[in-house]
């Protein structure tokens, strides 16, 4: 039977199990939207295409599935760019299907023509400009396969309006697409796995460094198994938050420029780092040339290009994180291990306890704030300051108190998903809020996209209607996709937004304070909107608290936010000067604090 390209597209999406699409129609995807009317696929009408991609991305991060976006040609397509780049940097499978001007008009600067496949070349795993309607269905199946296999990532499909309208027939491909030039390696090389197992068996101060690839590969179970089996302390990057439950005794927290001192010290002193699904970004390594100077490095990643890109590697293993870790655990069973005394664990000895310790390797600085690896800093609010260097009073600063109290309340809730925007509030959230599982803390790590938080929360809430979805935002970031408040209302999604209002682009302001002698060039946001009225305008509930005046109301209002019905917003006014601490000096190694 002959159907048009648009109908064939929708049939393909149905057969691929797509339940939901985020987007905005326009003239060049009007046929696609027309075909969508006959489908059971739900459509989420957003207010800006960037947000559509963040929603699809949040949906994909929360579920492990694929997020799908529709946008029209020209401005619709170009609006998706920041969203696509965000997904690309964090390896999230998102499919963006754009309309394009008619094939006969391509290249003529036609109305709403933009060469979106070229624009997105550096930020997509692959892309298609479909000029032939018969190529459409195979391309859609191939796109899903590419987006979800190997190292996941966004794929763009550009469909000219006349191709969507042209006649074709629908045949569901009987098998998964095979591409001679694309065959991701899943199983790690056995010799390399053996070499890694031997290094683990011989290591005195091993550290397991888990990155976002562990989440993509759903390998948390395997990380936990290996860590417990060999008693290796675990460091989780921002992208891997939740891979180990916050309370797990082997968890040392987050590495890097904004990492926890214990995680950074452990990496700096380690004699072995087993890195899994991480790309050693410069935010995570700080000074790459002096990274982990004593450590041998085992690097497990499905993307061979990540291995050896930023950091020297002793044992490279290309493969899927879960598969390789499973093999490594199995291999380790057969590998001779050092005999442990009763009650002793490698984790306990894995951190030099002080510079005077005879156990400590040479070069351990007395300034390094090293703690016993017993707890993550976020585990108990009252303890957090004890782990930070400049400790005056119970909390490091007012905002720390806000987050610590918030964490207490969130821990009492079941089934919480946290999303963040980008800035100080993001880092406070990553330091001070717990995640008990992977896929429960969604943040733009690689690109650092302000405006990610609320759309991502919408995507996550759609995927998990029963979860408590909380977006931690900033007064700067929130305004970058504020229009999606309307989408949340349309969908009756009870997302909660906490705006940490420090009246500034705080993280940039922090850098200016610390490194540019307090020259605050364009980082102060004196005029923020009245968020309570804004909430009202969008039919949300809204409240404001000021931590200066109403310190005692903090808990009540946070509780109100979490318990409120429907979408709700709480603006929390905090002091502008509060800093994210501790922090590594720009250009410094992991132990050189500001």
């Amino acid at each position: 039977m002959q159907i048009n390209g648009a109908t064939a597209l929708i049939r393909a999406l149905e057969d691929l199990g797509v339940k939901r699409i985020f987007g905005i129609p326009g003239v060049q995807n009007i046929e696609i939207y027309d075909a969508l009317l006959a489908s059971h696929i739900e459509h989420v009408l957003v207010r800006h295409e960037q947000a559509a991609v963040h929603m699809a991305d949040g949906y994909a991060r929360a579920t492990g599935g694929v997020g799908v976006v529709f946008a029209t040609s020209g401005p619709g397509a170009t609006n998706t760019v920041t969203g696509i780049a965000t997904a690309y940097m964090d390896s999230v499978p998102v499919i963006v299907i754009t309309g394009q001007v008619h094939t006969t008009s391509i290249g003529t600067d036609a109305f709403q023509e933009a060469d979106i496949t070229t624009i997105t070349l550096p930020i997509t795993k692959h892309s298609y400009l479909l000029k032939d309607v018969d190529a459409l269905v195979p391309a859609v199946f191939e796109a899903f396969y590419l987006a979800t296999s190997g190292r996941p990532g966004p794929v763009l499909i550009d469909i000219p309006g006349n191709v969507a309208a042209a006649e074709t027939s629908y045949h569901k491909p009987s098998a998964a697409p095979t591409l001679p030039s694309y065959k991701p390696t899943i199983k790690g090389n056995a010799r390399q796995v053996k070499a890694a197992a031997e290094l683990i068996a011989a290591a005195k101060w091993p550290v397991l460094l888990a990155g976002g690839g562990v989440v993509s590969s759903n390998a948390s179970k395997e990380v936990l198994a290996l860590a417990e089996q060999a008693q290796i302390p675990v460091v989780t990057t921002l992208m891997a938050k939740g891979v180990l439950a916050a309370a797990h005794p082997l968890l040392l927290g987050q590495p890097g420029v904004y990492g926890t001192p214990q995680a950074n010290a452990a990496l700096h002193e380690a004699d072995l780092i087993i890195a899994v699904g991480t790309r050693f970004s410069e935010r995570a390594t700080a000074d790459a040339d002096h990274y982990a100077p004593r450590a041998k490095i085992v690097h497990i990643d499905i993307d061979p290009a990540e291995i050896g890109k930023n950091i020297r590697v002793d044992v490279p293993i290309v493969g899927d994180a879960a598969t390789v870790l499973g093999a490594l655990s199995e291999r380790l069973e057969k590998t001779r291990r050092p005999v442990l005394q009763e009650g002793e664990s490698l984790a306990a000895t894995s951190l030099p306890s002080s510079s005077s310790s005879p156990e400590a390797p040479p070069g351990v600085s007395a300034e390094v704030p090293v703690e016993a690896p017993a707890k993550a800093p976020a585990e108990a609010p009252a303890e957090a300051p004890a782990k930070a260097p400049a400790n005056n009073g119970l909390y490091l600063n007012t905002t720390h108190r806000v987050f610590s109290v918030f964490n207490e309340l969130l821990k009492a809730c079941e089934d919480v998903i946290i999303t963040t925007d980008v800035g100080q509030h993001q880092l406070w959230a990553s330091h001070l809020l717990d995640a008990s599982k992977p896929r429960k803390f969604l943040t733009s790590g690689g690109l650092g996209t302000m405006g990610f938080g609320m759309p991502a929360a919408i995507g996550a809430q759609l995927a998990f209607p029963e979860s408590l979805v909380v977006c931690i935002s900033g007064d700067g970031s929130f305004q970058m996709n504020v229009q999606e408040m309307a989408t949340a209302v349309d969908l009756k999604l009870p997302i909660k937004v906490a705006i940490i209002n420090n009246h500034s682009l705080g993280l940039v302001r922090q850098w200016q304070e610390l490194f540019l002698e307090h020259r605050f060039s364009h980082t102060l946001l004196a005029n923020t909107p009245d968020y309570v009225k804004l909430a009202e305008a969008y039919q949300w509930q809204g409240r404001r608290i000021d931590t200066k005046g109403e310190a005692n109301n903090l808990k009540d209002n946070l509780r109100w936010l979490l318990k409120s019905e429907g979408p709700a917003l709480l603006e929390i006014v905090v002091p502008t000067p509060d800093l994210v601490e501790p922090m590594i000096k720009p250009g410094g190694t992991l132990t050189e604090l500001v």
Partner: protein
Amino acid sequence: MAEHTLSILVDNKPGVLTRVTGLIARRGYNIESLSVDKTEDPRLSRVTLVTTAEDVPIEQIKKQLHKLINVHKITELTPEDSVDRELALFKVKAATDKRPELIKLTEVFKAQVIDVAADTLTIELAGDHNTIAQLEELLSPYGIVEVARSGKLALPRGNW
């Protein structure tokens, strides 16, 4: 700065060359020369590309190129294990009294005169990079009006 010659088999499809060259430029490499055409299999094209970079190891570029879905195979060709050729066309000023010398030079280099005009000759030479550079040097005192040169073409030596 080390020069590397990459022979890259890619899908013969629109936009593929942009993907390859865009990636190389984006990742910090310069493209010194480039040549592309169909192979014995019309579905595939061979891109021969000479590239240099200071900071990024060539391994990294090869790995990144491999990630392009349209890239099938990448071979790095070294002078020892490959043969290569470039083609150059020189249009040279050629007053009547200079013509015999120019034609002599052409013969010595096993080049060919492919166009004769009132006041110029156009000389074609296929050879390796150095031979072409040599001829260019020798021609320049006569006055080179225009030059067109192909990128390097290369294949590994010997059996398959």
